[in-house]
């Protein structure tokens, strides 16, 4: 299936010559000081950065990199929070004809080392002391790494290593070079073509070491154009950038779309203030992985439980109406005047306020992608009147390939391919994609490239099918699909997302491939369950203790029964246990984008898996956990195993 659309909605014609720096230079010189390119909240105030400021900062950084010795094709890595300096560094790298690499801020030292070493990084932009410390500890093992650039001076007063340089000093070097060769920057920017590599992006990888996907300028730019052909953005729009730049979705919004349409990118003050800052900005477009929406749902559910009787009743009324209308729309049935009137009432009493609190009051299009989202969460947002759409994509296609269209949304599908994109189902139900945004290959990994990229088609490793309406349905990762006792295939993530709709359950892991029944390992939400326990006057001192209380098991069992409802018997959770800790990316249990690494957890917790398929009612755990700074703690506990009552 293929869709054509308006290719020039953004007013930018993507020729074979166009590169990201060329487009950046065009836009920045066109808008100058008249338009705000980005905003950052600092010291409690939103501070605007015009396109002119953006250009100047990027220019001197790029020239600074040249004076440090950057040559064409050198890799420059970036690590840190979302902040203007991060985007400047990336843009400067591209302008200086280098290749950008982003790392997740919370990467452990080993992961940083692997990526810096594998990518042959020459320069590293770290934000502050924490990132610099990580870099210093690996610099001896990464011989190609020459300089570390930092921008936040906090705590940096006692660092005197030669290979450290501040962002300001680097820009000063750039200024000096600019005085010497005033034409240099423009010359550099005007070089090159769209086919050249722009970014080297490491995929999170649920199974093996991360692989570095090479993305060209053309990949990135066509991605933005095709997405905006479906859902046009406006230059006056606001977008909040708070998800890691190391995630392709954030690149798609900040670079691919942001640069073409020129909307304002807003950076929150601190990661902890993101939700509050989103509310202050009220973005028009939003793209986040399901966990963000799950968090919002949880917030609403918990606040609902906390509020007064009258508020609860009003909320119940508005959700009743909201769900009813959303279901009519899903079914493409007409909404009668009667329901329209009730919807209006629900909107002015509850929905509007709620959306405002969640920062969704101005959102035209909200996207979720990067992992599966449960239908319950999905319906929740539509019942609120938020135009939430599923997308399907991956790093290898520079972002997304399939998205819902407004008015044609089905909560169990991901929609139609975006323009310029062909999607078909290959052997064994594998989803294949072909488009101008399909990546160039994996860096230093021809075997993986050969397996993934065949005749221009991208082999995703995801299992899916196309339904009667032409929507793509993503079942699960092919290797994750279970075979139930009756031989039928079953997607564990479907059940996992259903379980996570409960505010009390933060993470879930479903087991049952080729087993007699399905069981689940659950992680309670410490804050929500803790509050519930406080209200019930239950005493506990730690997550571990709380998770093992019989009352909590009762509570969780109730949530499972809710999730089991309407499922065929074989797909129901029969046994479960509460894990003594939360699943954590630092322990390799989740990827940095919080996807479950199934094979790893199965190996790590094989005692628990075995116990769930035995007659035991508890399992003894004796293990050591490691903290981010290398400290270790010993854990000895018994996990109860409970059978879900019918």
């Amino acid at each position: 299936m293929q869709h054509e659309g308006n290719m020039h909605q953004t007013g930018v014609e993507i020729t074979a010559d166009l590169t990201i720096p060329k487009l950046f230079y065009q836009k920045a010189t066109k808008y100058g000081n008249d338009r705000v390119a980005m905003r950052e909240k600092e010291f409690g105030i939103w501070r605007p950065i015009t396109w002119q400021d953006y250009l100047e900062n990027v220019k001197y950084l790029a020239l600074g990199l040249i004076s440090l010795g950057l040559v064409e094709g050198d890799k420059v890595s970036m690590i840190g929070d979302n902040r203007p300096e991060g985007l400047w560094a990336e843009m400067a790298t591209l302008c200086a004809r280098g290749i950008g690499v982003w790392l997740f801020r919370d990467c452990l030292i080993d992961e940083v080392k692997y990526i810096i070493d594998h990518s042959d990084t020459k320069f590293l932009f770290g934000e502050g002391q924490e990132e610099v410390d990580k870099a210093i500890s690996i610099i001896n093992e990464c011989p190609k790494l020459e300089k570390i650039i930092w921008d936040d001076p906090k705590g940096m007063r006692n660092y005197e290593e030669d290979y450290l340089i501040s962002l300001k000093e680097l820009q000063q070097l750039g200024r000096e070079l600019d005085e010497e060769k005033p034409e240099l920057f423009e010359e550099m920017v005007n070089k090159g073509s769209g086919e050249e590599v722009a970014l080297l992006f490491y995929t999170s990888g649920t199974t093996a070491l991360p692989k570095g996907a090479l993305l060209s300028h053309h990949n990135m730019l066509t991605m933005g154009q095709h997405l905006m052909a479906v859902d046009p953005c406006k230059a006056s729009d606001d977008y909040v950038s708070y998800l890691p730049f190391a995630w392709i979705g954030e690149q798609m919004m900040s670079i691919s779309c942001g640069l073409q349409i020129g909307y304002t990118i807003n950076f929150p003050e601190e990661p902890e203030t993101a939700q509050e800052n989103i509310r202050e900005i009220g973005p028009h477009v939003m793209f986040a992985p399901p966990r963000m929406y799950e968090q919002m749902t949880r917030t609403v559910q918990v606040k609902y439980l906390d509020s007064t009787w009258i508020k609860r009743k009003l909320y119940e009324f508005s959700t009743y109406v909201g769900y009813k209308v959303a279901n009519l729309k899903f079914d493409k049935k007409p909404v009668t005047w009667y329901w329209r009137a009730l919807e209006w009432l629900a909107s002015i009493t509850i929905q509007k306020k709620l959306k405002d609190h969640l920062g969704l009051s101005r959102v035209r299009n909200a996207y979720t992608g990067g992992a599966a989202m449960g239908p319950d969460h999905f319906r929740f947002f539509h019942a609120l009147g938020v135009n939430l759409k599923q997308i399907y994509g991956q790093t290898e296609v520079a972002g997304i390939s399939v998205v819902h269209r407004s008015g044609d949304i089905k909560f169990d599908t991901v929609g139609h391919p975006i323009p310029g994109t062909e999607v078909k189902i290959g052997e064994g139900g594998e989803i294949l994609t072909r488009s101008p945004s399909v990546f160039l290959g994996y860096y230093k990994n021809p075997e993986a490239t050969e397996k993934t990229l065949i005749d221009g088609w991208l082999y995703s490793g995801d299992k899916g099918f196309i339904d009667d309406d032409g929507h793509l349905v993503v079942f699960d990762r092919t290797k994750d699909v279970f075979t139930l006792k009756d031989g039928k295939p079953f997607a564990p993530q479907y059940l996992e997302t259903r379980l996570k709709f409960s505010p009390y359950i933060r993470d879930s892991w479903v087991i049952g491939d080729n087993k007699d029944y399905i069981s689940a390992v659950l992680c309670i939400d410490y804050a929500v369950v803790g509050k519930w326990a406080d209200e019930k006057k239950l005493n506990y001192t730690s997550y571990q203790e709380l998770s093992q209380m019989p009352e909590i098991y009762d509570l969780v069992e109730k949530q499972i029964r809710q999730a089991n409802k309407d499922l065929p018997d074989l797909a129901k959770v029969v046994k479960f246990t509460n894990l003594y800790k939360e699943l954590d990316a630092d322990d390799d249990e989740l990827t940095r984008t919080r996807k479950l690494r199934r094979a790893f957890v199965e190996k790590r917790y094989d005692d628990i898996v075995n116990a769930l398929y035995s007659d035991n009612d508890s399992v003894h755990i004796d293990t050591t956990i490691k903290y981010e700074d290398g400290r270790e703690a010993h854990i000895k506990t018994d996990l109860q195993i409970r059978k879900v009552a019918d």
Binding site: F43, I45, K154, G155, E270, E272, T273
Partner: protein
């Protein structure tokens, strides 16, 4: 608040000479001598009931010693009230946090800034002219120097009473810093904090002491020996009103009397870590 007679690092900032303080027959301080030099972190350690908090209360003016002198920058301050000492640049935090629970974080910190307000009642009552200008300047100071330093952006509008204890301690430090003190008295800033909070707080103390912007002399009362020995330039050991030693962390750790006073704590360097 820099005084008129600015001192150089190493000059004596605060001096206690033969300070006696007793409550009835209970002798809390029996002739304490202490010199705090500008720029240092000077710690006071000692067993519970040794008289550490009494000593702090004498310095900041909550108690008035019966005998001996306390001088600040060479000037005797025995007779001064706490707020007068605060004006000289003396600020403190308390062992058990003393914040205004019903007020927001920002308001608590603003309170520490009150001393720097110069505009009068007239302009204050209509919030115009000088007052408005001043308030904006002070808010900028609080945002740029304190909230940023202590990383409390996400709670600035929250009532302090709703916050966990660790954050309340941080807010109290913020309020003490709002005064822009030259000497900061920290009475057990780490008590009741978890490991992560201890590390954060230790870093803040170092920042305040070392950052060019602050360069605040710190008088630290603390039980966490690991932190005391790591942070301090000088350690003063008090034992039921008497001074055992006032020396560098190494000298203190090797002093037999100190080891005796801490009988049972074989390794003085023991810490929660």
């Amino acid at each position: 608040m820099a005084g008129s007679n600015a001192l150089n690092p190493g000059d004596v900032l605060l001096e206690l000479t033969d300070v006696h303080m007793s409550f009835g027959k209970v002798v809390a301080l029996a002739g304490v001598n202490l010199k705090i030099r500008k720029g240092e972190i000077h710690s006071v350690i000692g067993p519970n009931g040794a008289g550490k908090t009494v000593m702090m209360n004498c310095i900041n003016g909550l108690y008035h010693p019966q005998q001996g002198t306390i001088s600040y920058k060479g000037q005797k301050i025995n007779h001064l009230k706490p707020y007068q000492r605060a004006k000289l640049g003396l600020s403190r935090t308390f062992q058990k946090v003393e914040v205004f629970g019903g007020m927001t974080v920002l308001d608590n910190i603003r309170l520490g800034r009150h001393i720097h307000f110069k505009s009068g009642i007239a302009s204050g009552s209509v919030w115009a002219g000088k007052t408005a200008k001043e308030e904006i300047e002070h808010r900028a100071f609080i945002e740029e120097e304190i909230i940023d330093l202590l990383e409390i952006e996400s709670i600035r509008h929250k009532p302090v009473g709703m916050l966990p204890y660790g954050l309340q301690k941080r807010v109290e430090l913020g309020r003490a810093l709002a005064l822009e003190p030259e000497l900061l008295i920290l009475d057990e800033p780490l008590a009741g904090l978890n490991l992560e909070e201890v590390e954060d707080m230790a870093r803040f103390i170092l920042d305040v002491n070392e950052e060019e912007r602050w360069k605040v002399t710190c008088l630290l009362v603390e039980h966490d020996m690991g932190v005391v020995m790591d942070l301090s330039h000088q350690v003063f050991v008090l034992n039921f009103g008497y001074t055992i030693i006032d020396g560098t962390p190494e000298e203190v750790q090797n002093n037999p009397e100190v080891i005796k006073a801490y009988l049972g704590e074989e390794d003085l360097y023991a810490t929660r870590r």
